[in-house]
């Protein structure tokens, strides 16, 4: 067909943004950046995995790659052909080469269509008009995925989730695709059934030489079946690499955090001890620089600031709260009064004015896990200034103070994927010393 040295699928800078509109004129007021520039190459016969938390854009990425959603930007080449330039007929032919398995086996089947018709549907819409032939193919496939040919006449609601996912696999295989995209193929299933489905996919992959792209939030699944893995965060790949290398030697703090969240059966193994706090940021308003810096446990401190990593993280979180003006002095006072016991015990209505400034500052610090005294004198002075400003009610001054001193390279500059190890790539400023040096230069100016 086409040159075999081409990768089967090559995706370059794929973006999918959903416009957020308002009013009757549908004015665009923002964009949800579900997928924000991902690139990958799928070699023939390999199994590639994309992992990430819910809402990081994995499913949208899969749907955009196979043009179930029209990408906003980027390039997709299938066997060297530009998928985005396909016309209707070419797109239909492309659907024959690439098939999707859906996450939810319950809702991915039309409840009013018998299973036989559902599995035969790709054949019909691709133009096979011989009814008997379709029947034979469907019967054969159903038996090969572990069901019986007699099941053809039954309706989806008569099957269990696992059986339905087998049928889903059969439906995807009817047109003999080259690439199988499995979007969370087992996340809706029991663990025992998960293994069966994964084994079935694996068997077909070996038998037919399929290329498989698996999207999952389950690192166990990915580790079990994938040759290569990409870790996705907020619409971008933060690390890509061969499964074993990535799992044994994760380079990106986010990967490390994900890996440490895998429960291990060994009670003495405390894992990597990394824990993520906070929520995934809103994709319509992603953080600047490295998108992970708001939650990163290893965020780089500005040079000249000498704090323990933990303290630095707390200080940065505190700064972010100040910036969002989400410091609720009133409720901090209320809590503080309750906990202080005698000192303010006779206070009728706790209000910030009635509290000693020093106490209030201490309470705010403890609310955000900032130690009462920072080791670094410069940092301590800045935090203290900012707290004074907050106590005075002058948030702008607090913001300015903190921003001046505590701006990290992570929020200023966006890290690019770069090689680290033989085939591993990660996007993190920790991997490049260059930025740190630049930072130093600027500060010592």
């Amino acid at each position: 067909m086409s040159r075999s040295d081409e990768p089967l699928l090559r995706v370059d800078g794929l973006k999918k943004h959903y416009p957020i509109t308002e009013g009757i004129l549908n004015t665009e007021v923002g964009r949800a950046r579900a997928v924000d520039g991902i690139s990958l190459e799928l070699e023939r016969g390999e199994t590639f995995g994309i992992v990430g938390e819910s809402g990081c854009g994995k499913s949208t990425a899969a749907a955009s790659m196979v043009r179930l959603e029209e990408p906003t930007d980027g390039e997709i080449r299938f066997e060297g052909e530009n998928v985005l330039e396909y016309d209707a007929a070419e797109l239909r032919r492309f659907r024959r080469e690439v098939q999707l398995i859906f996450q939810d086996p319950d809702s991915s089947f039309d409840p009013r269509m018998s299973v036989g018709d559902a599995v035969a549907e790709p054949l019909v819409v691709q133009g096979m008009s011989d009814r008997e032939r379709r029947r034979e193919i469907v019967a054969d496939l159903l038996e090969r995925v572990g069901l019986s040919a007699a099941d053809m006449k039954r309706y989806p609601h008569e099957f269990s989730g696992g059986q339905k996912q087998r049928i889903g696999l059969a439906r995807a295989l009817t047109v003999n695709p080259k690439l199988l995209v499995a979007d969370e193929p087992v996340s809706a299933l029991d663990v025992s059934v998960q293994a069966e489905i994964l084994r079935l996919i694996d068997e077909f992959q070996r038998e037919l030489g399929l290329t498989v792209l698996i999207i999952s939030h389950d690192l166990g699944v990915v580790r079990q079946v994938c040759d290569r893995v990409a870790v996705m965060y907020l619409g971008e790949f933060v690390e890509v690499g061969p499964t074993e290398e990535l799992f044994s030697n994760p380079q990106h703090p986010y990967t490390r955090a994900l890996l440490s969240a895998i429960p291990t059966p060994d009670p003495t193994d405390r894992g990597l001890g990394v824990e993520l706090t906070g929520d995934v940021p809103d994709p319509s308003d992603p953080p600047s620089g490295c998108k992970f810096h708001t939650r990163c446990p290893e965020v780089i401190p500005p040079s000249g600031i000498d704090l323990s990593q933990e303290t630095w993280r707390s200080v940065l979180t505190f700064r972010k709260q100040v910036e969002r003006e989400s410091i609720d002095v009133e409720s901090i006072v209320e809590m503080g009064v309750l906990e202080s016991g005698d000192k303010y015990g006779n206070l009728e209505e706790p209000s910030p004015d009635a509290i000693d400034d020093a106490d209030l500052k201490r309470w705010i610090r403890s609310e955000y896990d900032v130690p009462d005294r920072l080791d670094d004198p410069r940092a301590e002075a800045t935090v203290d200034d900012a707290l004074d400003a907050i106590v005075d009610g002058d948030h702008d001054r607090a913001k300015a103070h903190l921003a001046e001193e505590f701006t990290t390279v992570c929020e200023r500059e966006k890290p690019e994927l770069e090689a680290c190890g033989t085939e591993q790539e990660a996007a993190c400023h920790l991997l490049d010393d260059v930025h740190v040096e630049l930072d130093e230069l600027r500060l010592t100016e």
Binding site: L100, M113, S129, E136, L141, A150, K153
Partner: protein, 411 residues
């Protein structure tokens, strides 16, 4: 279940290598073959073309050649309502009866589900009888004619004071308490109207009118509503906006007044009535179908169809339409009775075509004589009442029977 259909698996033992598997399909060959149509489809297209040619010829001789209604071999001249009626029956045959005949297993299953609802079975029988008599009766029976002298004859079991009836009494007279009573006779089993028309004959002619109005106008109305509602929901955006705003505008103009307007300007006829109700009464049905289609549209199986390479038309017809059939059947069962009732109401008010033997006209004929000759209004009124009721029961049962999720293990 379905032992008859599993012979193939038994024949080759289920394990023998199959001759057809998905790996062996040569898709380039299939692409080259192009679109093949089944014989059934070709036959259907031929019938539809024949019908279209007939209509075109009729229109030509009426308006271009101006030789009046075209005369066809066997059929003679065909009225506009009959054109619509024949097409409606063809559509019901092709999309209703033929699929049921082709899939006996499915038909048996539907029937098993359907017969659980006894009221619906009785309703269906009643409607079939009314439909059959309504279709065949007017072809073989003479038209009801006013017969001077035989006015206000009572039904076969009743009697009426002779001074209230016409000059003669078909069933003879008796004297009760010194009053001469006119007896009913088998000559006019349901009696006659105040102009001496036979009520049984008129009711039979009225059956055809009601069925025509109900079915033709509903088929039109539901087809347009489904097309508009599904298109709007499937494509969304501007298409949705334009279509639904048009519906809003259309719905501000009641079909009843539109009919009155046309009745005064171009004259009222059954054909105009059917067109008005069929082409302008679909607004609320379209809204109902759109709102359900909007939900279905987001289901992953819609994406699965796209993933298979299905066109929009295929997805709408095979996935969206069947899955809003609850709304569709509900809309149809609401539309049929309301249109039949509207037609009766228009005839009752004397706004309809006076030559059409409608139930509404019969009811209106008898309204002055309810005290003396109650049967004139009551008998056609009873037919109307039971027809409306039967359609409602039928719709309810159909909605349940056609949903495969109902009979199975349940949710």
């Amino acid at each position: 279940m379905g032992e008859d259909t599993d012979t193939r698996t038994k024949a080759d033992g289920g394990t023998a290598p199959r001759d057809v598997t998905f790996e062996q399909v040569d898709w380039d060959e299939i692409d080259a073959d192009g679109v093949a149509r089944s014989r059934k489809r070709v036959a259907w297209l031929a019938v539809v073309s024949l019908w279209t040619i007939g209509v075109a010829y009729d229109l030509y001789s009426r308006f271009v050649a101006e030789t009046g209604q075209a005369a066809f071999p066997v059929l003679g001249s065909v009225s506009p309502v009959d054109w619509l009626w024949s097409f409606t029956l063809l559509v019901l045959l092709y999309y209703g009866v033929v699929p049921l005949y082709e899939n006996p297993r499915m038909t048996r299953y539907y029937w098993k589900e359907f017969k659980k609802n006894k009221a619906a079975v009785v309703s269906a029988l009643y409607l079939i009888v009314v439909f059959a008599i309504g279709v065949i009766g007017p072809r073989v029976l003479p038209e009801p004619e006013p017969t001077p002298g035989l006015e206000n004859q009572p039904p076969v079991w009743g009697s009426i004071e002779a001074y209230s009836a016409g000059t003669s009494c078909a069933g003879g007279t008796t004297t009760v308490d010194g009053v001469t009573m006119c007896q009913g006779s088998w000559q006019h089993p349901f009696g006659t109207t105040s102009s001496g028309e036979d009520i049984l004959l008129s009711s039979i002619y009225g059956m055809e009118v009601s069925m025509q109005v109900g079915l033709i106008a509903t088929l039109m109305s539901i087809s347009v509503a489904a097309a508009v509602g599904l298109t709007a929901a499937y494509y969304g955006g501007l298409v949705d906006e334009v279509l639904m705003r048009y519906v809003d505008i259309q719905m501000t103009f009641p079909t009843f007044f539109l009919f009155l307007l046309l009745a005064y300007t171009i004259g009222s006829s059954l054909f105009v009535l059917i067109l008005i109700f069929g082409l302008f009464g679909w607004g609320s049905s379209a809204r109902i179908m759109r709102s359900e289609a909007l939900q279905r549209r987001e289901e992953p199986y819609m994406k699965a169809a796209k993933n298979a390479g299905a066109s929009s038309l295929w997805t709408i017809r095979r996935h969206l339409l069947p899955n809003i059939s609850n709304s569709l059947i509900t809309a149809a069962t609401l539309t049929i009775p309301s249109i039949i009732l509207a037609e009766a109401a228009i005839a009752f008010l004397g706004l309809g075509d006076p030559t059409v033997p409608s139930w509404g006209r019969l009811i209106s004929d008898g309204r002055d004589q309810l005290r003396t000759a109650w049967w004139i209004s009551t008998i056609p009124g009873g037919f109307l009442f039971f027809t409306i009721l039967a359609f409602n029961f039928l719709g309810d049962a159909l909605r349940d029977a056609l949903d495969p999720r109902h009979g199975g293990s349940g949710e």
